[in-house]
Protein backbone atom coordinates (compact mmCIF):
# COMPACT_ATOMS: atom_id res chain seq x y z
CA UNK A 1 0.00 0.00 0.00
CA UNK A 2 1.41 3.37 -1.00
CA UNK A 3 1.87 5.98 1.74
CA UNK A 4 -0.70 8.25 0.06
CA UNK A 5 -3.35 5.49 0.20
CA UNK A 6 -2.62 4.98 3.89
CA UNK A 7 -3.06 8.72 4.49
CA UNK A 8 -6.42 8.66 2.65
CA UNK A 9 -7.52 5.73 4.81
CA UNK A 10 -6.54 7.54 8.00
CA UNK A 11 -8.42 10.58 6.63
CA UNK A 12 -11.65 8.58 6.28
CA UNK A 13 -11.43 7.71 9.99
CA UNK A 14 -11.04 11.44 10.70
CA UNK A 15 -14.34 12.05 8.90
CA UNK A 16 -16.05 9.47 11.15
CA UNK A 17 -14.97 11.24 14.36
CA UNK A 18 -17.69 12.35 16.72
CA UNK A 19 -19.95 9.73 15.20
CA UNK A 20 -21.59 6.42 16.02
CA UNK A 21 -20.93 3.26 14.01
CA UNK A 22 -23.77 0.77 14.40
CA UNK A 23 -23.90 -3.01 13.94
CA UNK A 24 -26.64 -4.04 11.50
CA UNK A 25 -27.67 -7.42 10.13
CA UNK A 26 -30.21 -6.47 7.43
CA UNK A 27 -30.77 -3.63 4.92
CA UNK A 28 -33.81 -2.59 7.01
CA UNK A 29 -31.69 -2.21 10.13
CA UNK A 30 -29.07 -0.34 8.09
CA UNK A 31 -31.73 2.14 6.96
CA UNK A 32 -32.92 2.61 10.56
CA UNK A 33 -29.31 3.24 11.61
CA UNK A 34 -28.69 5.74 8.79
CA UNK A 35 -31.93 7.60 9.54
CA UNK A 36 -31.02 7.73 13.22
CA UNK A 37 -27.71 9.43 12.36
CA UNK A 38 -25.12 6.62 12.24
CA UNK A 39 -21.90 7.83 10.57
CA UNK A 40 -21.26 4.29 9.28
CA UNK A 41 -22.69 0.81 9.67
CA UNK A 42 -21.00 -2.50 10.43
CA UNK A 43 -22.64 -5.20 8.32
CA UNK A 44 -22.67 -8.63 9.95
CA UNK A 45 -24.87 -11.72 9.93
CA UNK A 46 -25.28 -11.91 13.66
CA UNK A 47 -24.72 -9.19 16.21
CA UNK A 48 -22.17 -10.03 18.92
CA UNK A 49 -24.78 -10.92 21.58
CA UNK A 50 -26.16 -13.59 19.24
CA UNK A 51 -22.69 -14.78 18.25
CA UNK A 52 -21.98 -15.24 21.94
CA UNK A 53 -25.29 -17.04 22.51
CA UNK A 54 -24.98 -19.29 19.46
CA UNK A 55 -21.37 -20.33 20.09
CA UNK A 56 -19.49 -22.26 17.40
CA UNK A 57 -17.17 -20.81 14.77
CA UNK A 58 -18.07 -17.33 13.68
CA UNK A 59 -16.90 -16.15 10.22
CA UNK A 60 -17.03 -13.29 7.72
CA UNK A 61 -20.59 -12.49 6.58
CA UNK A 62 -22.08 -13.47 3.23
CA UNK A 63 -20.89 -10.88 0.65
CA UNK A 64 -24.39 -10.83 -0.84
CA UNK A 65 -25.82 -9.67 2.48
CA UNK A 66 -23.11 -7.00 2.74
CA UNK A 67 -23.83 -5.84 -0.83
CA UNK A 68 -27.51 -5.54 0.03
CA UNK A 69 -26.59 -3.15 2.82
CA UNK A 70 -24.15 -1.22 0.59
CA UNK A 71 -26.98 -0.66 -1.90
CA UNK A 72 -29.37 0.52 0.80
CA UNK A 73 -27.34 3.22 2.55
CA UNK A 74 -25.14 6.09 1.40
CA UNK A 75 -22.91 6.16 4.50
CA UNK A 76 -19.71 4.05 4.74
CA UNK A 77 -20.20 0.30 5.19
CA UNK A 78 -17.77 -1.74 7.27
CA UNK A 79 -17.57 -5.51 7.76
CA UNK A 80 -15.62 -7.91 9.95
CA UNK A 81 -13.03 -10.54 9.10
CA UNK A 82 -11.45 -13.08 11.42
CA UNK A 83 -8.08 -12.17 12.95
CA UNK A 84 -5.37 -13.28 10.52
CA UNK A 85 -7.81 -14.29 7.76
CA UNK A 86 -6.34 -12.34 4.84
CA UNK A 87 -8.42 -14.26 2.28
CA UNK A 88 -11.64 -13.00 3.88
CA UNK A 89 -10.13 -9.51 3.75
CA UNK A 90 -9.32 -9.92 0.04
CA UNK A 91 -12.97 -10.83 -0.57
CA UNK A 92 -14.23 -7.75 1.28
CA UNK A 93 -11.79 -5.59 -0.67
CA UNK A 94 -13.16 -7.10 -3.89
CA UNK A 95 -16.68 -5.92 -3.01
CA UNK A 96 -15.27 -2.45 -2.21
CA UNK A 97 -16.02 -2.38 1.47
CA UNK A 98 -15.23 1.03 3.03
CA UNK A 99 -13.52 -0.34 6.17
CA UNK A 100 -12.53 -3.83 7.33
CA UNK A 101 -12.70 -4.65 11.03
CA UNK A 102 -10.16 -7.38 11.83
CA UNK A 103 -12.19 -8.45 14.79
CA UNK A 104 -11.86 -10.57 17.90
CA UNK A 105 -15.66 -10.92 17.85
CA UNK A 106 -15.29 -13.56 15.13
CA UNK A 107 -13.33 -16.76 15.75
CA UNK A 108 -9.63 -16.10 15.15
CA UNK A 109 -8.26 -17.79 12.02
CA UNK A 110 -4.63 -17.41 13.05
CA UNK A 111 -3.43 -17.62 16.65
CA UNK A 112 -0.04 -16.03 15.90
CA UNK A 113 -0.23 -13.54 13.06
CA UNK A 114 -2.59 -10.70 12.30
CA UNK A 115 -3.27 -9.72 8.68
CA UNK A 116 -0.49 -7.75 6.98
CA UNK A 117 -2.75 -4.79 6.37
CA UNK A 118 -0.12 -2.88 4.42
CA UNK A 119 -0.88 -5.24 1.50
CA UNK A 120 -4.40 -3.86 1.15
CA UNK A 121 -5.86 -0.73 -0.43
CA UNK A 122 -8.96 -0.65 1.79
CA UNK A 123 -8.61 0.61 5.35
CA UNK A 124 -8.61 -1.56 8.49
CA UNK A 125 -9.78 -0.88 12.03
CA UNK A 126 -8.44 -3.14 14.79
CA UNK A 127 -9.17 -3.59 18.47
CA UNK A 128 -6.62 -2.84 21.18
CA UNK A 129 -6.65 -3.21 24.97
CA UNK A 130 -3.57 -1.05 25.54
CA UNK A 131 -1.03 1.16 23.80
CA UNK A 132 1.27 -1.72 22.84
CA UNK A 133 -1.49 -3.59 21.02
CA UNK A 134 -2.62 -0.41 19.29
CA UNK A 135 0.86 0.42 18.00
CA UNK A 136 1.46 -3.18 16.84
CA UNK A 137 -1.77 -3.06 14.83
CA UNK A 138 -0.83 0.34 13.39
CA UNK A 139 2.60 -1.04 12.43
CA UNK A 140 0.74 -3.81 10.55
CA UNK A 141 -1.20 -1.14 8.64
CA UNK A 142 -4.34 -0.41 10.69
CA UNK A 143 -5.57 3.13 10.01
CA UNK A 144 -8.03 3.27 12.91
CA UNK A 145 -8.12 1.74 16.41
CA UNK A 146 -10.96 0.87 18.76
CA UNK A 147 -11.04 -0.52 22.28
CA UNK A 148 -11.88 -4.19 22.42
CA UNK A 149 -14.45 -3.91 25.16
CA UNK A 150 -16.32 -7.16 25.62
CA UNK A 151 -18.66 -7.43 22.65
CA UNK A 152 -22.18 -8.66 23.02
CA UNK A 153 -22.36 -8.24 26.78
CA UNK A 154 -23.87 -4.78 27.22
CA UNK A 155 -21.27 -4.36 29.98
CA UNK A 156 -19.10 -1.32 29.41
CA UNK A 157 -16.48 -2.17 32.07
CA UNK A 158 -13.87 -3.53 29.67
CA UNK A 159 -14.15 -0.67 27.19
CA UNK A 160 -13.60 1.69 30.11
CA UNK A 161 -10.62 -0.33 31.31
CA UNK A 162 -9.03 -0.34 27.82
CA UNK A 163 -9.64 3.36 27.22
CA UNK A 164 -8.20 4.31 30.61
CA UNK A 165 -5.22 2.02 30.08
CA UNK A 166 -4.54 3.63 26.69
CA UNK A 167 -4.77 7.18 28.08
CA UNK A 168 -2.58 6.35 31.06
CA UNK A 169 0.11 4.74 28.92
CA UNK A 170 0.08 7.67 26.51
CA UNK A 171 0.65 10.03 29.45
CA UNK A 172 3.51 7.85 30.68
CA UNK A 173 5.19 7.77 27.24
CA UNK A 174 4.76 11.52 26.81
CA UNK A 175 6.65 12.03 30.08
CA UNK A 176 9.66 9.87 29.21
CA UNK A 177 13.02 11.35 28.26
CA UNK A 178 13.96 10.94 24.59
CA UNK A 179 16.63 8.36 25.35
CA UNK A 180 14.22 6.30 27.47
CA UNK A 181 11.97 5.71 24.46
CA UNK A 182 14.27 3.02 22.99
CA UNK A 183 13.92 0.83 26.06
CA UNK A 184 10.17 1.52 26.26
CA UNK A 185 9.76 0.47 22.61
CA UNK A 186 11.64 -2.73 23.37
CA UNK A 187 9.54 -3.47 26.47
CA UNK A 188 6.26 -2.78 24.69
CA UNK A 189 7.33 -4.68 21.54
CA UNK A 190 6.43 -1.77 19.28
CA UNK A 191 8.32 0.16 16.55
CA UNK A 192 10.38 3.04 17.91
CA UNK A 193 9.03 5.57 15.36
CA UNK A 194 5.42 4.99 16.40
CA UNK A 195 6.28 5.34 20.08
CA UNK A 196 8.17 8.53 19.28
CA UNK A 197 5.04 9.87 17.56
CA UNK A 198 3.02 9.18 20.73
CA UNK A 199 5.73 10.84 22.83
CA UNK A 200 5.73 13.98 20.67
CA UNK A 201 2.00 14.29 20.02
CA UNK A 202 0.44 12.81 23.18
CA UNK A 203 -1.99 10.78 21.09
CA UNK A 204 -2.19 7.76 18.82
CA UNK A 205 -1.17 8.37 15.20
CA UNK A 206 -4.69 7.29 14.12
CA UNK A 207 -8.27 7.89 15.25
CA UNK A 208 -9.34 5.93 18.35
CA UNK A 209 -12.97 4.84 18.95
CA UNK A 210 -14.62 3.05 21.87
CA UNK A 211 -16.30 -0.31 21.31
CA UNK A 212 -17.83 -3.10 23.32
CA UNK A 213 -20.73 -3.03 25.75
CA UNK A 214 -22.01 0.48 24.96
CA UNK A 215 -25.79 0.32 25.46
CA UNK A 216 -27.03 3.74 26.61
CA UNK A 217 -26.49 7.46 25.88
CA UNK A 218 -24.72 7.63 29.25
CA UNK A 219 -22.32 4.83 28.24
CA UNK A 220 -21.50 6.73 25.05
CA UNK A 221 -20.95 9.99 26.96
CA UNK A 222 -18.72 8.19 29.46
CA UNK A 223 -16.49 6.81 26.71
CA UNK A 224 -16.28 10.22 24.97
CA UNK A 225 -15.31 11.92 28.23
CA UNK A 226 -12.63 9.29 28.72
CA UNK A 227 -11.11 10.34 25.39
CA UNK A 228 -12.80 8.23 22.71
CA UNK A 229 -13.16 10.04 19.39
CA UNK A 230 -16.40 8.23 18.54
CA UNK A 231 -18.18 4.99 19.43
CA UNK A 232 -19.17 1.65 17.96
CA UNK A 233 -22.50 0.34 19.19
CA UNK A 234 -23.08 -3.33 18.54
CA UNK A 235 -25.79 -5.31 20.22
CA UNK A 236 -26.90 -2.31 22.30
CA UNK A 237 -29.24 -0.91 19.67
CA UNK A 238 -31.00 -3.77 17.92
CA UNK A 239 -31.21 -5.83 21.12
CA UNK A 240 -33.17 -3.04 22.81
CA UNK A 241 -36.87 -2.23 22.97
CA UNK A 242 -36.88 0.79 20.64
CA UNK A 243 -33.85 0.68 18.33
CA UNK A 244 -34.60 3.85 16.29
CA UNK A 245 -35.09 6.02 19.36
CA UNK A 246 -32.13 4.58 21.27
CA UNK A 247 -29.88 4.95 18.21
CA UNK A 248 -30.82 8.61 17.71
CA UNK A 249 -30.32 9.31 21.42
CA UNK A 250 -26.83 7.77 21.40
CA UNK A 251 -25.91 9.84 18.31
CA UNK A 252 -26.90 13.07 20.10
CA UNK A 253 -25.13 11.93 23.27
CA UNK A 254 -21.85 11.49 21.39
CA UNK A 255 -22.06 15.05 20.02
CA UNK A 256 -23.00 16.65 23.36
CA UNK A 257 -21.19 14.28 25.70
CA UNK A 258 -20.46 17.05 28.22
CA UNK A 259 -24.01 18.37 28.51
CA UNK A 260 -25.58 16.51 31.46
CA UNK A 261 -28.95 18.25 31.10
CA UNK A 262 -29.29 17.14 27.51
CA UNK A 263 -28.06 13.65 28.41
CA UNK A 264 -30.79 13.44 31.03
CA UNK A 265 -33.39 14.27 28.41
CA UNK A 266 -31.88 11.80 25.94
CA UNK A 267 -31.94 9.02 28.52
CA UNK A 268 -35.71 9.33 29.10
CA UNK A 269 -38.21 6.79 27.81
CA UNK A 270 -35.85 4.75 25.71
CA UNK A 271 -37.68 1.54 26.52
CA UNK A 272 -36.01 -1.67 27.50
CA UNK A 273 -32.18 -1.63 27.31
CA UNK A 274 -30.45 -4.84 26.28
CA UNK A 275 -30.32 -7.21 29.22
CA UNK A 276 -26.58 -7.73 29.17
CA UNK A 277 -24.25 -10.13 30.93
CA UNK A 278 -21.82 -9.12 33.68
CA UNK A 279 -18.14 -9.59 33.03
CA UNK A 280 -17.89 -12.29 35.74
CA UNK A 281 -20.63 -14.35 34.11
CA UNK A 282 -18.88 -14.64 30.76
CA UNK A 283 -17.26 -17.88 29.76
CA UNK A 284 -15.55 -16.58 26.63
CA UNK A 285 -13.41 -13.45 26.89
CA UNK A 286 -13.26 -12.21 23.31
CA UNK A 287 -10.94 -9.34 24.22
CA UNK A 288 -8.20 -11.90 24.97
CA UNK A 289 -8.14 -12.93 21.31
CA UNK A 290 -5.11 -11.54 19.41
CA UNK A 291 -2.57 -9.40 21.28
Amino acid sequence: MAQSRYELNKNLAQMLKGGVIMDVTTPEQAKIAENAGACAVMALERIPADIRAAGGVSRMSDPKMIRGIQETVSIPVMAKVRIGHFAEAQILQAIEIDYIDESEVLSPADDVYHIDKTKFEVPFVCGAKDLGEALRRIAEGASMIRTKGEPGTGDVVQAVRHMRMMASEIRRIAGLAEDELYEAAKQMQVPFELLQYVHNNRRLPVVNFAAGGIATPADAALMMQLGAEGVFVGSGIFKSGNPAKRAAAIVQAVTNYNDAELLAKLSEDLGEAMVGINEQEIELLMAERGK
Partner: protein
Protein backbone atom coordinates in the same frame (compact mmCIF):
# COMPACT_ATOMS: atom_id res chain seq x y z
CA UNK B 1 -12.50 37.57 14.39
CA UNK B 2 -14.76 34.86 15.85
CA UNK B 3 -15.41 31.82 13.71
CA UNK B 4 -18.08 29.30 14.70
CA UNK B 5 -17.24 25.74 13.69
CA UNK B 6 -20.07 23.25 13.43
CA UNK B 7 -18.88 20.51 15.81
CA UNK B 8 -21.69 17.96 15.53
CA UNK B 9 -19.63 15.27 13.80
CA UNK B 10 -16.60 14.93 11.53
CA UNK B 11 -13.28 16.70 11.10
CA UNK B 12 -14.07 19.96 12.90
CA UNK B 13 -10.93 19.94 15.08
CA UNK B 14 -8.75 20.05 11.96
CA UNK B 15 -10.50 23.23 10.76
CA UNK B 16 -10.11 24.85 14.17
CA UNK B 17 -6.40 24.08 14.28
CA UNK B 18 -5.89 25.61 10.85
CA UNK B 19 -7.95 28.73 11.56
CA UNK B 20 -6.14 29.24 14.85
CA UNK B 21 -2.74 29.20 13.13
CA UNK B 22 -4.11 32.09 11.04
CA UNK B 23 -5.02 34.04 14.15
CA UNK B 24 -8.80 33.50 14.20
CA UNK B 25 -10.73 32.75 17.41
CA UNK B 26 -12.76 29.56 17.02
CA UNK B 27 -15.67 28.26 19.02
CA UNK B 28 -17.55 24.99 18.63
CA UNK B 29 -21.26 24.85 17.83
CA UNK B 30 -23.05 21.84 19.31
CA UNK B 31 -26.26 23.35 20.70
CA UNK B 32 -28.32 26.57 20.43
CA UNK B 33 -26.73 28.07 23.57
CA UNK B 34 -23.38 28.08 21.76
CA UNK B 35 -24.61 30.73 19.27
CA UNK B 36 -27.49 32.59 20.93
CA UNK B 37 -26.26 36.08 21.76
CA UNK B 38 -22.70 35.19 20.72
CA UNK B 39 -20.91 37.31 18.13
CA UNK B 40 -20.02 35.28 15.05
CA UNK B 41 -18.16 36.66 12.03
CA UNK B 42 -17.88 33.44 10.06
CA UNK B 43 -19.19 29.88 10.06
CA UNK B 44 -17.48 26.65 9.04
CA UNK B 45 -19.22 23.38 8.15
CA UNK B 46 -16.60 20.60 8.17
CA UNK B 47 -16.33 17.24 6.44
CA UNK B 48 -18.04 14.25 7.97
CA UNK B 49 -21.29 12.55 7.06
CA UNK B 50 -23.86 14.98 5.64
CA UNK B 51 -26.75 12.72 6.72
CA UNK B 52 -25.54 12.79 10.34
CA UNK B 53 -25.03 16.55 10.45
CA UNK B 54 -28.43 17.26 8.86
CA UNK B 55 -30.14 14.96 11.33
CA UNK B 56 -28.35 16.57 14.30
CA UNK B 57 -28.95 20.15 13.10
CA UNK B 58 -32.67 19.47 13.29
CA UNK B 59 -32.59 17.22 16.37
CA UNK B 60 -30.62 19.72 18.44
CA UNK B 61 -32.64 22.77 17.40
CA UNK B 62 -29.77 24.45 15.53
CA UNK B 63 -31.16 24.42 12.01
CA UNK B 64 -33.34 27.54 11.99
CA UNK B 65 -30.87 29.63 13.96
CA UNK B 66 -28.07 28.89 11.51
CA UNK B 67 -30.25 29.14 8.41
CA UNK B 68 -31.26 32.64 9.50
CA UNK B 69 -27.63 33.67 9.91
CA UNK B 70 -26.63 32.27 6.51
CA UNK B 71 -29.58 34.03 4.85
CA UNK B 72 -28.45 37.22 6.57
CA UNK B 73 -25.14 37.12 4.70
CA UNK B 74 -22.86 35.48 7.29
CA UNK B 75 -19.72 34.16 5.54
CA UNK B 76 -19.80 30.34 5.39
CA UNK B 77 -17.11 27.86 4.43
CA UNK B 78 -18.26 24.29 3.71
CA UNK B 79 -15.92 21.41 2.90
CA UNK B 80 -17.11 18.06 1.48
CA UNK B 81 -20.20 17.29 3.63
CA UNK B 82 -20.36 21.03 4.32
CA UNK B 83 -20.66 21.68 0.59
CA UNK B 84 -23.54 19.18 0.37
CA UNK B 85 -25.34 20.91 3.25
CA UNK B 86 -25.21 24.25 1.43
CA UNK B 87 -26.31 23.06 -2.03
CA UNK B 88 -29.74 23.80 -3.52
CA UNK B 89 -29.87 20.42 -5.27
CA UNK B 90 -28.32 17.14 -4.10
CA UNK B 91 -28.12 14.02 -6.30
CA UNK B 92 -28.31 10.96 -4.09
CA UNK B 93 -29.20 12.81 -0.92
CA UNK B 94 -31.38 15.42 0.74
CA UNK B 95 -30.79 19.17 0.97
CA UNK B 96 -30.15 20.95 4.25
CA UNK B 97 -29.55 24.74 3.92
CA UNK B 98 -30.47 25.08 0.26
CA UNK B 99 -28.73 28.42 -0.20
CA UNK B 100 -26.10 27.96 -2.91
CA UNK B 101 -27.17 27.68 -6.54
CA UNK B 102 -25.35 24.42 -7.27
CA UNK B 103 -26.23 20.80 -7.99
CA UNK B 104 -24.04 18.37 -6.08
CA UNK B 105 -23.44 14.67 -6.59
CA UNK B 106 -22.81 12.83 -3.32
CA UNK B 107 -20.15 10.10 -3.16
CA UNK B 108 -19.37 11.10 -6.75
CA UNK B 109 -16.14 9.10 -6.85
CA UNK B 110 -17.64 5.95 -5.30
CA UNK B 111 -16.59 4.19 -2.12
CA UNK B 112 -13.38 4.54 -0.12
CA UNK B 113 -11.31 2.82 -2.86
CA UNK B 114 -12.25 5.82 -5.05
CA UNK B 115 -10.82 8.34 -2.57
CA UNK B 116 -7.75 10.12 -3.97
CA UNK B 117 -5.37 13.04 -3.69
CA UNK B 118 -4.27 15.35 -6.48
CA UNK B 119 -3.71 19.06 -7.08
CA UNK B 120 -5.89 21.68 -8.74
CA UNK B 121 -5.55 25.24 -9.98
CA UNK B 122 -7.53 27.44 -7.60
CA UNK B 123 -8.48 30.87 -9.00
CA UNK B 124 -6.29 33.52 -7.42
CA UNK B 125 -4.24 31.05 -5.35
CA UNK B 126 -2.51 28.87 -7.92
CA UNK B 127 -1.98 25.15 -7.43
CA UNK B 128 -3.46 23.72 -4.20
CA UNK B 129 -3.45 20.16 -2.79
CA UNK B 130 -6.85 18.47 -2.99
CA UNK B 131 -7.76 15.42 -0.88
CA UNK B 132 -11.06 13.74 -1.73
CA UNK B 133 -12.50 11.32 0.87
CA UNK B 134 -15.64 9.66 -0.54
CA UNK B 135 -16.07 13.15 -1.90
CA UNK B 136 -18.77 14.92 -3.89
CA UNK B 137 -18.40 17.22 -6.89
CA UNK B 138 -20.54 20.01 -8.28
CA UNK B 139 -22.39 18.90 -11.40
CA UNK B 140 -23.59 22.34 -12.38
CA UNK B 141 -23.53 25.85 -10.99
CA UNK B 142 -25.85 28.83 -11.51
CA UNK B 143 -24.81 32.10 -13.16
CA UNK B 144 -24.25 33.84 -9.83
CA UNK B 145 -21.75 31.18 -8.76
CA UNK B 146 -18.04 31.74 -9.35
CA UNK B 147 -16.25 28.49 -10.12
CA UNK B 148 -12.83 28.42 -8.40
CA UNK B 149 -11.36 25.01 -9.26
CA UNK B 150 -11.84 21.93 -11.42
CA UNK B 151 -10.54 18.36 -11.08
CA UNK B 152 -10.97 16.11 -14.14
CA UNK B 153 -13.41 18.58 -15.63
CA UNK B 154 -15.68 18.59 -12.56
CA UNK B 155 -16.23 21.64 -10.37
CA UNK B 156 -14.66 21.11 -6.94
CA UNK B 157 -14.54 24.63 -5.48
CA UNK B 158 -16.91 27.58 -5.87
CA UNK B 159 -18.12 30.79 -4.32
CA UNK B 160 -21.45 32.58 -4.27
CA UNK B 161 -21.19 35.92 -2.49
CA UNK B 162 -20.12 35.04 1.08
CA UNK B 163 -20.48 31.27 0.67
CA UNK B 164 -17.30 29.34 -0.12
CA UNK B 165 -17.31 25.60 -0.76
CA UNK B 166 -14.78 22.90 -1.61
CA UNK B 167 -15.49 19.25 -2.41
CA UNK B 168 -12.03 18.40 -1.07
CA UNK B 169 -10.44 18.83 2.37
CA UNK B 170 -7.96 21.71 2.68
CA UNK B 171 -8.04 21.18 6.48
CA UNK B 172 -6.25 17.83 6.09
CA UNK B 173 -3.14 19.35 4.45
CA UNK B 174 -0.61 21.88 5.69
CA UNK B 175 -1.55 24.48 3.05
CA UNK B 176 -3.46 27.35 4.73
CA UNK B 177 -4.20 29.46 1.64
CA UNK B 178 -7.86 28.50 1.20
CA UNK B 179 -8.59 29.13 4.87
CA UNK B 180 -6.85 32.49 4.57
CA UNK B 181 -9.00 33.21 1.49
CA UNK B 182 -12.09 32.49 3.62
CA UNK B 183 -10.86 34.74 6.44
CA UNK B 184 -10.41 37.53 3.86
CA UNK B 185 -14.11 37.17 2.99
CA UNK B 186 -14.91 37.26 6.72
CA UNK B 187 -12.79 40.38 7.24
CA UNK B 188 -14.46 42.22 4.40
CA UNK B 189 -17.91 41.26 5.67
CA UNK B 190 -17.03 42.35 9.19
CA UNK B 191 -15.76 45.75 8.03
CA UNK B 192 -18.88 46.39 5.93
CA UNK B 193 -21.14 45.30 8.78
CA UNK B 194 -19.46 47.72 11.17
CA UNK B 195 -19.49 50.68 8.76
CA UNK B 196 -23.11 51.95 9.15
CA UNK B 197 -22.90 51.51 12.92
CA UNK B 198 -19.91 53.84 13.12
CA UNK B 199 -21.74 56.45 10.99
CA UNK B 200 -24.73 56.40 13.33
CA UNK B 201 -22.58 56.46 16.44
Amino acid sequence: MRIGVLALQGAFAEHEAMLQTLGADCFEIRKPADIKGQPMDGFVIPGGESTVMTKLLHGLGLFELLQGKIAGGLPVFGTCAGLILLAKHVQGGITCFPCMDITVRRNAYGRQLGSFETTALFTGLGEVPTVFIRGPYIECAGENVQVLAYVDGNIVAARQENILVTAFHPELKQDVRIHRFFLDIVNKYKKEKEKPQSRCG
